[in-house]
Symmetry: C5
Subunit: 299 residues, 5 copies
């Protein structure tokens, strides 16, 4: 689908928006605007990573924006983010994306009411909207971490959390990586020469997002550690039970073994009270072990 | 409740303070000052996170201040912090909050004695007071960490500390997050253009708080690690007891097993001293094991 | 092999390129251009680390570029990287390398179409191309980490991953080290006095690569930790089985031991229902243990 | 005790030094110099944390200096540090402290020979001396860490180190905290407007101390980890012994159990060589297990 | 031994070099150049840490340079480094050291060919040479780490590595500490006022060394962790064997126990095929356990 969102006569520059572009459409536009073949090729790859490239005559930007509709197990670049490709020069901006992006229309509406001086200004608004798609998920991810944190620390009966923690960590890590790889784009937008208050705002947003996701990443890693630690704490509990049983039964089993020996001359065996005496001995030993354990705090 | 703390005629600007505002009141004010619906809506959400927004004509700030009266298990944004919403322009400041906040009155008193030049100056004082609510708890949290540290390292009998450590960590983490999210507010207050000694002071306080809470966060995380480590050290102790018992009784049980066999031709069984000899053998083995253990340092 | 890629008359400077140089060739050139013996000696060492040296009259640079054709177990400087030595002065650039490097020809082609003002400009392009060899592997290494991450977290049956993780970590660490050691080169290229937009670009690329590899290094280290942690989690599972068996059989073995004793006066032994009664007792004990385990959640 | 260390006529400013001040004395001075009640109150609290406060007319500083005479178990602010309170204006400096501080006299001597231009200069010297009290302990703490490091890594017989490590870590952590909290003081001393070479020196010293204590803190934390790790390595050793014993005796005990069964028709029992044959079998099994263990490297 | 390496008439300043100075010599020079007693005293302490001190009239510097001839177990300041003391003013430089230092002669040679403008320039060269003594060892230490890394990760048969790792870590840590403590010296050499390209070079070298040793320190710490982790992984293996044996033999031992009971009425005992039937039962149990283990992946 093809939309002309800004016209030269009206705004001083053109803005073309293609959503779910077909190859034919793309070729036509590439010819018309003299776009490099390599750039168009990158446009069509659904999992291309963020990129900034200054080709002669125009800039080619690939940005990945957060896609909200993902399942819990989504963990690849393509599942978690949508690609938006931007061709940008003084005279035109072309935006290409697969999914309909709501913010494109919002910006188009904005264009009607507000006069933009240059394509650079429009680009800035676009990138800012793209970045903002990462803002809301951070709060959701923080809540997810809080939930798992509570599970790990407060619930003694462990449900299998490892898988959930893994997917959470992957999501956070992936966003962090997208942000790192998008640095070029932000840095070329907010240069010393052409930056202004608005591009500085975009950079501030970028840095804030980086801080937020870095702190999420720290949190999820510490949570993983805590998960493993509490899980290894259970070994402790199991060892305790094992030890208690061994220490109770080992001496008893030894004693009954003694009187199971077949020596001809074992006076105890012939005693009338031999059997009850041994039973009593074993009760005493059991009580002694019991008291010793109580003192150690193992019971 | 509605209070007019500064009047235009007197101070050059207005300051309205609403505590526990009713919807009606809020609507009236929103109309009068031309406040955006979205801002008013945010005002009413009790768990809204810190935010800075420049709407046309005014700035809208949500700040969360530390609420002192919380229980030990308080660990949500709403339990640990109170929201204060600020509408700010050159001509007026409107502060909205649920709980009565003592510092609002302190600032109002200050206004009587000290002439402020602009709303920006008042805003700075407000934000500084808000930030200062985080100062005292940091000392308390540090003391709590010290207490748990002593428990973990010096007391051999473990009380269940995990829950307490968890809540402590949550509190510190939450404050850290609030501070990160408040960065925008501080940064827009102390800009290069309009900042002065006072706003710089506010920023200094902000940075100091960040450092203090970061260091608290490091401490609590290390403490958690130490807790898990000392807890896994106990396994060591339990293993020792288990091993000692096994090594003592296994050979003995084996020996008594031998003479429990029913072979017809076992000369030892017919010996007159067979029984005491075996008993002696077992005593010797026990002593040997004992000496070996002493040397290993396990007894 | 010896190629003259730029001539003084045409470009204002000379560029000599030697691939797989023989000692004789090298000596001739060293004499002609008055190169220091020590530099030439460094040229011939295949595993020399990155270096920047200002000798009188010229600069001597050793850069190591990523070599793509390595096996999975490649983990030394020589296996993972190729050396490229550069002699550089205002009047000439000499590049020396063992393997044919594709980008040398690309730059030579570029020279035909684009006029370079100075050798410094050419050097910048060279170094940038060299740095770019590290760009593509980072994506591949990230994918490898993702694969191992999935193995560690999601597959319960452990394949031996340690070796693979080790080689992955070594590769990342080695690239990081090469980048650290190359800092001098970048810093002397992009000085305050002689730097320009292009050298700044090179530095930006350098910093981006450093960030990317630092983040990879963090990831692989955390992955290693997770690997060890999941592996120690298995101990937990094994302990559980061991404990279950011990707790089931220890009391049973003790009881059968009792009635294996040879006391003359053991009334139970003469009872007609003694044997089935004991068997019943043991069944009851087994069931009791079973219920207890179910409650503990160990079965 | 009350001393006038500098007089207005002579030095252009006054310096009063009170050591172990009585309430009466303090009140008199507070009145004379118009000091705020809250400041005086803070003066009297022995465990008050470092603080910088600009009251109208003067500055109030609380600094904590390292107290050398502490025992090994000293771990509170009060035990490890002494408080020194400073009131400071253009015209006077008042220093208040409980313990006699040697450096006060040193500075007083200095005043006789060297002309100071302002109280700010004197304040700078005071703070520098205060900071320097933290310098010597850092070397001692580093030595202590080295000693414990050696214990943990090289001595196989573990003495109980945890307590010592705990107190060491507390001391380092406490100094770090004091330094963080003293930042305000240093920052207000060495401002952009009024700083000079000397205040810059003080800041340099402050930063150096921070680096040194940060690195000590890292070291002690890593040492703690190593301590726990070596301690859990012992479990390994204990497990080895336990396993060896079990694997040796379990099959043997089973075999003697077989021939302890009371079946009527067990041909082996009637064999003349049954007993020695079984004994031989058990020797062979023992040797087989022994060889297997040797190969595994467990013996 | 005493050498005059630069004379006032010739170079504009004096340079005295004392190697293995005797007390008498030192005293004479101290008198002649009016050196402070405390400085001379520090000169004589063999384990004095790096230090920069501006005494009136001259600067006193203690630098510690890496000493190459150390054994594997060298881990003290004195074993790993040599002290070099420098007195420095506008008119003279005095260098004092115990061991002959090759680079002193190199610099002396340099002085013959190259005219230095000031003692500061000479000092810069001296310090740079001193710093460079740390450069070569870093590569050697990196190689050592690589070797241990290979041992830890790839060799299943563990040799005792802990001691080696300990000494390696100590060396790296000690150099790091020396560098931290030498910061003052570098910072006072390369000041804003008197620094130039050459002193900046020295600072660059200092920073590079710091980065290199920091990264080495990170590596050795991670290696230590990996060592402990692989070592605790072995526990896993041992547990497996122990569990397998227990699970095999516990049921068997129980069964033979049953038929070792002495009840009068145990029908199985009188059966003709009782004995072989029980043996068969035990074989079946063994096979069942075997299959179960195979499925669990423990065999």
């Amino acid at each position: 689908m093809f939309k002309q969102l800004a016209k030269k006569e009206e705004h001083g520059f053109e803005w073309l928006d293609l959503s779910q572009p077909e190859n034919e459409e793309l070729k036509q536009i590439a010819e018309k605007y003299n776009l490099h073949e390599a750039s168009v090729h990158d446009c069509l790859q659904p999992d291309h990573l963020p990129k900034y490239e200054a080709v002669n005559g125009y800039c080619f930007i690939i940005f990945r924006i957060y896609a909200d509709q993902q399942s819990m197990e989504a963990d690849t670049v393509q599942e978690l983010t949508d690609k938006i490709a931007i061709f940008f020069s003084d005279k035109y901006i072309i935006t290409i994306h697969r999914q309909e992006q709501g913010f494109v229309n919002s910006i188009a509406d904005l264009l009607q009411t507000q006069k933009l001086k240059s394509t650079r200004q429009l680009l800035n608004i676009l990138i800012k909207y793209c970045l903002q798609t990462y803002d809301a998920p951070s709060a959701k991810l923080a809540k997810d971490i809080d939930y798992y944190e509570e599970c790990v620390f407060l619930r003694s009966r462990k449900v299998p959390l490892l898988k959930g923690l893994y997917y959470l960590r992957r999501k956070i890590d992936l966003v962090r990586r997208m942000l790192i790889l998008s640095y070029d784009i932000i840095d070329n937008l907010d240069t010393e020469d052409e930056g202004n208050v608005n591009t500085r705002d975009t950079r501030d947003l970028y840095i804030k997002l980086q801080n937020v996701y870095d702190s999420l990443y720290d949190n999820i890693n510490q949570l993983l550690n805590a998960y493993f630690s509490t899980s290894s704490q259970r070994t402790n509990e199991i060892m305790r039970v094992l030890t208690i049983f061994s220490v109770f039964f080992m001496p008893l089993t030894f004693i009954v073994g003694i009187y199971g020996m077949n020596f001809k001359y074992m006076p105890e065996l012939d005693w009338h009270l031999g059997y009850p005496a041994v039973m009593l001995l074993m009760v005493i030993i059991t009580i002694a072990v019991f008291i010793w354990f109580k003192r150690k705090g193992w019971l």
